[in-house]
């Protein structure tokens, strides 16, 4: 039997995340929008609310709650702030390669601090020469005794300026077919965060560049097998990265629908609320259909992931659908608001901007289709 309902406990997780989002995240949104900067108070509050510990097993100081619980938390937080959801989603994305491919020593060294939020994580793959095509990256590593020497730059990296532990993909200096993944740590000589992006949306979520010049990384920081790093990075992005974007998108979809219903019930035209107009109802129905479908796709994939099944294809479908649906929802929500939808005082204008930033992260919609087509044809 297929059971599509969340358990009583999962409903309680949702409630906990909702309370957190409403009391701790919402008050920070205006400042994040205004400055575009990360709220360190929010990061601290997230850590105190154990948000970084969700996917980390209990033996390493985490909660071991898995990916459905994570999706619930991301959805609720993103409903209030997609920027906050995005930041949190990439913490888990940075944690995942260590969880999945790390040695026991690496897990013991890094995971407890990442679970408490004492350390913050990210994953850095994208470069100016390679986003959709990660093999196009130019960062290199070279063996030097027991260590590796890394050189290169990354761009569009979430949490670049706040992360302490970043899994970085680089290419073998001598073999352009061999890639490896390394844990780079804040404070390593020659490693720094440089340019900070000023995004149209997800303001308050840090995105920026990393540069490493002759940066010495000990062999203990190699994640997985040398030469097989592409698999390490892509595996994490495939389910945790895409899954995280689904959480951000679902939250935004839900937020768009909520404000639309409220506005449509309050805005009086022709002597009655515009929610009585069939055209408006059509839009609300479309948004509702998208939200229901997006949730089914997303939670199905997350429950597969929790069972340890391969879920990256299912997440590709969910990611494609929900991020596209979030853009449709933001457009419809802003249309329903008429002129008010163009004003910064109304949250829909932020939703509109945020919705466009959802697309590229963890793979563009085109790339999702490439993956889905490959799955379909296989």
């Amino acid at each position: 039997m297929i059971d599509f309902t969340l358990t009583e406990e999962q409903e309680m997780f949702r409630k906990a995340a909702q309370e957190f989002a409403e009391t701790q995240v919402a008050p920070k949104v205006p400042e994040m929008e205004e400055t575009g900067k990360v709220s360190l108070e929010l990061v601290k509050a997230m850590a105190e609310a154990e948000m970084m510990a969700l996917t980390i097993p209990e033996e390493y100081g985490g909660l071991g709650l898995g990916y459905t619980a994570r999706l619930i938390a991301l959805e609720e937080i993103s409903k209030v702030s997609v920027a906050a959801g995005m930041m949190l989603q990439v913490f888990a994305l940075g944690i995942e390669p260590i969880l999945k491919y790390g040695t026991d020593a690496q897990k013991k060294k890094f995971l407890p601090g990442l679970a408490t939020g004492e350390r913050l994580a990210s994953t850095a793959v994208t470069e100016a020469t390679g986003g959709s095509d990660p093999t196009g990256i130019r960062s290199t590593y070279k063996k030097d005794g027991e260590d590796y020497i890394l050189n290169g730059r990354k761009c569009f990296i979430t949490n670049a300026h706040i992360a302490d532990t970043i899994t970085v993909l680089a290419k073998d200096d001598e073999n352009p077919k061999a890639f490896s993944t390394f844990i780079m740590e804040k404070g390593m000589d020659g490693f720094k965060a440089t340019h900070e992006e000023n995004k149209v949306g997800m303001r308050g979520c840090n995105t920026g560049e990393l540069a490493y010049e002759n940066c010495r990384v000990p062999k203990e920081n190699l994640v997985g097998v040398e030469g097989k790093g592409l698999g390490v990075a892509l595996a994490a992005i495939g389910d945790v990265g895409r899954g995280g974007m689904v959480g951000c998108a679902l939250g935004l979809q839900a937020a768009c629908l909520d404000v639309s219903v409220k506005f449509a019930n309050e805005r009086i035209l022709y002597g009655k609320p515009i929610s009585r107009l069939q055209t408006i109802q059509n839009k609300l129905a479309d948004m509702k259909i998208d939200l229901e479908a997006g949730r089914l796709l997303g939670y199905r994939a997350a429950s597969m992931q929790d069972k340890g099944e391969r879920s990256s294809n299912e997440f590709a479908v969910a990611k494609y659908f929900s991020t596209e649906a979030a853009q449709r929802a933001a457009k419809m929500a802003s249309d329903i608001h008429g002129g008010y939808g163009c004003m910064e005082e109304y949250a829909v204008s932020r939703y509109m901007r945020d919705s466009f930033v959802l697309g590229p992260s963890a793979g563009t919609s085109d790339i999702m289709k490439v993956i889905i087509a490959r799955w379909t044809l296989s």
Partner: protein
């Protein structure tokens, strides 16, 4: 060990109060799919118990009378940090007034065992009679202090509490075991935490019906309720709009005058 019982009621979500209707015939609440949540003030009652426990160590039991779904709010209290849950649920309990509710809860408290303190909310957000706390105390033959805003001192068997009055407060020294009904001024309730929810997995909820409580059908629920709600009237509160005319200063002057006349300022 010090034993605390916290009484918690499942109420229709006050955020959706606009969807709650009262049946004109039976004079009972028609819940109309409004989800049940923990009565807001009961969070403050539980928080009082949790703060005591943090300071002195204690065992906290949570007690609720309600339909089986009320088990959810008991579970929530366990996730917030209570140790054990008790749900009094039986068809026979349905339709209870404050008297029958208090009687049933008092029987539950007796069955839970020896206790030192009972915390209740000052009022529920639905029925809101504010009688259940005092009536529990009456059935248990122990003192009660209602509307407490501060626990000034825990001194062995004697507690000193501050309690709200309309135009001031009372400072009361009371011998425990006692019942306290709490206000929002008492504390700031904690939020649900993920690890609290995980810890609640191992905590039990015991459910009792009339048989386990050893009470007669005639003494509980609608049958055991001496008060009858004969009429319910809704108050129509309409907003009145007035547009003030004149220069800005004049309008401000008029506004202040009107607010003062209305007793708001």
């Amino acid at each position: 060990m010090f034993k605390i019982v916290v009484c918690v009621k499942a109420v229709p979500d006050p955020k959706e109060a606009c969807n709650i209707k009262i049946d004109p015939v039976t004079k009972t609440l028609m819940r109309c799919d409004v989800p049940m949540v923990l009565n807001p003030l009961d969070k403050y009652a539980l928080e009082a118990a949790l703060q005591f426990k943090e300071q002195f160590d204690a065992h906290i039991s949570v007690l609720s009378m309600g339909p089986p779904e009320a088990g959810n709010i008991v579970k929530e209290c366990l996730a917030l940090g209570a140790d054990q849950g008790f749900l009094l649920s039986d068809r026979a309990f349905a339709g209870a007034d404050a008297f029958a509710t208090a009687y049933t809860l008092a029987k539950g408290i007796e069955k839970i065992g020896p206790f030192d303190v009972v915390f209740c909310g000052m009022a529920s957000s639905d029925g809101s009679t504010e009688w259940v706390g005092p009536e529990i105390a009456t059935f248990l033959k122990i003192p009660v202090v209602t509307r407490i805003t501060e626990i000034v001192e825990y001194n062995g068997q004697w507690w000193t509490v501050k309690a709200e009055l309309e135009n001031g407060y009372r400072l009361v020294r009371v011998q425990i075991p006692a019942v306290f009904t709490v206000t929002r001024a008492l504390n700031t309730p904690r939020r649900l935490s993920f690890s609290g929810i995980i810890k609640a997995r191992k905590k039990e909820i015991t459910q009792w019906g009339i048989q386990q409580l050893g009470v007669s059908e005639a003494s509980v629920g609608l049958k055991g309720s001496p008060s009858i709600v004969s009429t319910i009237a809704t108050m129509d509160s309409r907003r009145k709009v007035e547009i003030l005319e004149g220069k800005r200063e004049e309008k401000a002057e008029q506004l202040v005058q009107r607010l003062a006349n209305a007793g708001v300022l």
